[in-house]
């Protein structure tokens, strides 16, 4: 029997291993990344974004952050439009990750302004209290660009000499933020997937002082990082003495400002808690 013939045994074992390998690993190359599934708006990385991506890899960010939004309510409501294979055709390697010690980053691009990222990288807990992310302040050092052109060539990404020139004087922080702002932002999901508020926008808590403590607490958790605990503004604008009507403030918080870097909070806060924040905001004045 084959238990007496080691070479035949070895060949048979190899063949056995190759069946599943061919069907589930080799064959899918035929369908995955098919040009028919390509998304025209998804672009290759620029030299600066690619350098940023390499820093993300070097620091092992993928050990704590995933980059796939699953088509599940808890994912799409929290992070945004679910991920599509066509969005990753330029990702060598893929960076989907396997564990969320921190949040998913597949839709981080465009969520926050650059200034938010700078502050967050420097001192994560200043922006997100009780976060366990390490400080990456040391990325404020000059970017090593010696391999940049070679990298673009290796991946066959288009670039101009001006793109390479533009890397001069950039820091590693500039690069990783350029990468962050590109991730998941090549498809116009923020506009198409925007949460619309239907019906009459009337504040159910107008002049209801009892909700102010909760509104203040919610503000401290979700808003203070950018607008300051005293509403004086920092990354985002000063919010004291707001003269906008409640309905306008509600819409901004609930749906965000896609162009201006204000994230949408509707999915995290819901209507009721958003109104409580609105009520709190309108109660704060400079003097």
């Amino acid at each position: 029997m084959i238990e007496k013939k080691p070479i035949i045994f070895l060949l048979l074992a190899t063949a056995t291993i190759l069946v599943g390998t061919i069907i589930t690993m080799v064959l899918p190359f035929r369908w995955i990344n098919d040009p028919k599934l390509a998304i025209a708006s998804v672009k290759p990385y620029t030299p600066l974004q690619l350098e940023g991506r390499d820093i993300y890899i070097r620091e092992g960010c993928n050990n704590c952050h995933t980059q796939t939004v699953r088509p599940l309510l808890s994912d799409t409501e929290r992070y945004g439009e679910y991920s599509k294979s066509g969005e990753f055709v330029y990702d060598q390697p893929f960076l989907w990750g396997s564990r969320r010690n921190g949040p998913d980053l597949a839709r981080i691009g465009g969520k926050y302004p650059d200034a938010w990222h700078v502050k967050h990288m420097k001192d994560p807990r200043a922006m997100v209290p009780r976060s366990n992310m390490p400080s990456y302040d040391f990325l404020n050092r000059p970017l090593d660009t010696s391999l940049s052109e070679k990298k673009m060539k290796a991946l066959k990404f288009p670039y101009t000499p001006a793109d390479i020139q533009a890397l001069q004087g950039k820091s590693e922080m500039d690069a990783i933020i350029a990468y962050m702002q590109k991730v998941g932002n090549d498809i116009p999901w923020r506009k198409t997937g925007k949460t619309e508020v239907l019906g009459e926008l009337k504040n159910p808590f107008q002049d209801n002082m009892s909700v102010l403590p909760e509104g203040q607490k919610l503000y401290a958790e979700h808003c203070a990082q950018c607008h300051g605990i005293e509403l004086k503004g920092e990354v985002g604008p000063d919010l004291r003495d707001m003269d906008q009507p409640d309905s306008k403030v509600f819409a901004t918080i609930y749906s965000g400002i896609a162009a201006g870097g204000m994230p949408a909070f509707g999915d995290t806060l819901g209507k009721e808690r958003t109104w409580k924040v609105v009520t709190y905001l309108k109660s704060v004045h400079k003097h």
């Binding site: 080691p6 369908w31 294979s85």
Partner: protein, 467 residues
């Protein structure tokens, strides 16, 4: 006895000792990063951050401790089952040197941030190339020893050894295909969803070919050696072997459920993962039924305790794993702490308990002496068991809690918790996990002390005899 047979056993000693060194490194780094998660102030950038240290933990564990001791026991077992001395002891000596160079290089380059980012295939191409050389040297030596064997029939352990040799080679070569940019930087040869599918075909079969077939080879050899009675069923071993190595390769995509890879690949992975319960439990039953009439040895023979608890954790692992690979359950617990809890039951419970038994069995024989202290071996057993259970159970609870919070919605359909609100609730569990790690580390130190004293005692004995 061994030396009279002409077996190359000095090299086995070398691999056992070095694998214990790397095992200690893996656990030390593991305990440290478990504290980093609970206390982020313990990150010291750039070299000592969680992101750079976690690959060192996994690589030291899987390749340093795991592969290192598998090399030791493959050489030990193969010689005895073939009644033939190793084909080339010189090559094996070179292999030991290369092994240590590779693992040390891996630790240094990973700390420096040279990292391909693919889990368990992080090493940059020059180091990965050395791994390939290492594996070829090893495989040739083992296969040639089997070819020129003096015992015609190949025992089950040798099948698992052969499957490991070819399986690891195929997996490693395919997943490490890279486009080099410089000596320290390369890009994966595959893109996006293809890269993901290749990676998890590799990743899950590293579990098959590194964390399952080698410990099974070792279990099938050392259980009868420790108990003195043969394995219950050779036929069940045959069926389990072929179905195991057939089914495993289909299951990688259960790491990619709900991800943008084709649905049919995910469904096949899910189906085969569930089917894998059968061959996995065939090995478990083979272990249990071999103990018929021998269960009293669980009290009297500490080796049996390690082996039977090991195979029990293998059985639990291969029930929990398939359940996690069901789409609905995966949707709930994937990406949470549940998964590290699962992984550590396999690595600390199954693989390491079997390896401890094999080391306890071989070291006294290789050094012609008795174990220094059976009492300490029992202390070791209970410490590592307690540490591992604290680790796994707290992580399962943490995973379920976080998953439930992430899925909680308000009456209007919006999510009840932000991500950070679910994360901060994990701190108490992370403190418990770190405690479990410290207890495990204490157990490991007791083990190392026991082995050290055994070897030191043997050397003084030898000197005394010569004088």
């Amino acid at each position: 006895m061994n030396q009279q047979e002409g077996y190359a056993d000095d090299i086995v000693k070398g691999f056992v000792i070095w694998s214990m060194v790397w095992g200690l490194v893996a656990v030390l780094v593991g305990v440290f990063i478990s504290f980093q998660i609970a206390f982020p102030q313990l990150n010291f950038p750039p070299y000592l951050t969680y992101g750079r240290l976690r690959p060192i933990h996994t690589n030291a564990g899987i390749f340093g401790w795991g592969i290192g001791s598998f090399m030791a026991f493959f050489i030990y077992i193969t010689q005895r089952l073939t009644r033939t001395s190793l084909w080339s002891p010189g090559l094996a000596k070179a292999q030991l040197w290369l092994f240590n160079v590779v693992i040390a290089l891996a630790a240094v380059t990973l700390a420096m941030g040279m990292n391909r980012s693919k889990e368990y295939a992080e090493l940059e191409w020059p180091v990965a190339s050395l791994v390939v050389v290492l594996w070829v040297i090893f495989a040739v030596n083992i296969v040639m020893t089997i070819v020129k064997r003096r015992e015609e029939q190949m025992y089950i352990s040798l099948w698992y050894i052969l499957a490991t040799l070819v399986g690891v080679a195929v997996l490693y070569l395919v997943n490490n295909a890279s486009i080099p940019v410089s000596l320290t930087k390369s890009y994966s040869a595959y893109a996006g969803a293809n890269d993901a599918n290749v990676q998890w075909w590799y990743g899950h079969n590293a579990v098959a070919m590194v964390l399952t077939t080698p410990p099974l080879a070792i279990f099938y050899y050392f259980l009868p050696k420790a108990t003195g009675v043969p394995i219950y069923s050779h036929r069940m071993g045959v069926i389990a072997f072929w179905s195991l190595i057939f089914m495993y390769l289909w299951t990688g995509a259960h790491h990619l459920l709900w991800a943008p890879v084709p649905d049919w690949v995910q469904t096949l992975a899910m189906a085969f993962s569930v089917m894998l319960i059968a061959p996995s439990w065939a090995a478990v039953f083979n272990g249990y039924f071999s103990m018929n009439g021998q269960w009293h040895q669980m009290r009297e023979n500490y080796l049996v305790k390690f082996l039977i608890f090991g195979i029990t954790f293998y059985g639990l692992q291969t029930l929990q794993g398939p359940s996690q690979s069901i789409r609905t359950f995966s949707a709930f617990i994937h990406f949470t702490d549940w998964v590290p809890g699962h992984v550590h039951m396999g690595t600390l419970g199954w693989v390491s308990l079997v390896l401890f038994a094999a080391i306890y069995y071989t070291i006294p024989r290789l050094y012609h002496t008795e174990i220094y202290s059976v009492g300490l071996a029992n202390v070791h057993f209970w410490l590592v068991l307690t540490g591992q259970l604290i680790f796994s159970i707290t992580m399962w609870i943490a995973g379920v809690q976080q998953a439930a919070m992430l899925n909680a919605t308000n009456p209007d359909g919006s999510l009840h918790y932000s991500f950070i609100e679910t994360m901060v609730e994990l701190y108490p569990y992370w403190h418990m996990r770190a405690l479990g790690g410290v207890i495990y580390l204490a157990g490991l130190l007791v083990f190392l002390y026991n082995i050290y004293q055994t070897i030191a005692g043997a050397k003084t004995q030898a000197v005394a005899q010569r004088a």
